[in-house]
Subunit: 130 residues, 2 copies
Amino acid sequence: MDQIYKIFQGKSIKLTTQRKAIARIFLGKHCPPQDAESVFKGLQGKADKATVFRNLEIFESAGILRKVDLQKDSVHYELNANHHHHAVCTSCGLIEAVKCTFRKLDLSKFREIKDHSMEFFGICKSCAKG
Amino acid sequence: MDQIYKIFQGKSIKLTTQRKAIARIFLGKHCPPQDAESVFKGLQGKADKATVFRNLEIFESAGILRKVDLQKDSVHYELNANHHHHAVCTSCGLIEAVKCTFRKLDLSKFREIKDHSMEFFGICKSCAKG
DNA sequence: TTCTAATTGCAAATGATTCGCAATTGGGAT
DNA sequence: ATCCCAATTGCGAATCATTTGCAATTAGAA
């Protein structure tokens, strides 16, 4: 549980009960990327939805969470640790974690790359059978 | 100009004036990824915005366009040809095309990968100077 | 414990995208 | 070339994710 406090260490963010509850959700084992709606539901009334949106953004700025783009209608976030990517089944939504195979690239117009996304879309074995 | 007709060849999509106008935009030289709003503006009244949304989706299903995720608030599309990726300047929005450096990966739960995204976010040289 | 700036909840505002439906139109059949 | 009809369009209203204003609450420093 003090994993939660560790997360906020050194960040100038007040430790509100809402924030602890939100962090707790992302700290769950194998927690898949979450959007505001799913976090809000997971909170079962422990925080307002606007508060969830506000904090997802704050957590991202603080480096606690990172944005994940799964080509869904809403923005997803996950813990910013154990850098990896995702394969998403476009049929059932299943998400599998994927190692990063990113190689150096040379860009003529850029000074510095700070982040990158790399997601894969396809059909999982289970849906392929159906 | 008949490049436009070639695009629709073999697809069961009616060649409306609106669709030709939309296609023409994407066929422009070095056309960066466009969202519905920018396409709509580019059309200067030649099509309704709902028509733009509908056709971007139809074009994508037909394999004419592909979705690009630039971590902006709206969905962007570009011509589905010359497979490549993007580097986006998070300060000024500049987009540079990037070669695909995607390597094989092994997925345990997937039968088949149909598509992938890989975008880079950073600061361009011009913004770094400012 | 007190104080104050940060944070929250609520409700209203935005902005992107979608939908319903009547009017229009492309393109095959005649 | 003309007719016909399903596909497509324009318009406006609806939806959905996300943001914002503001008064009430609260964490944490003094």
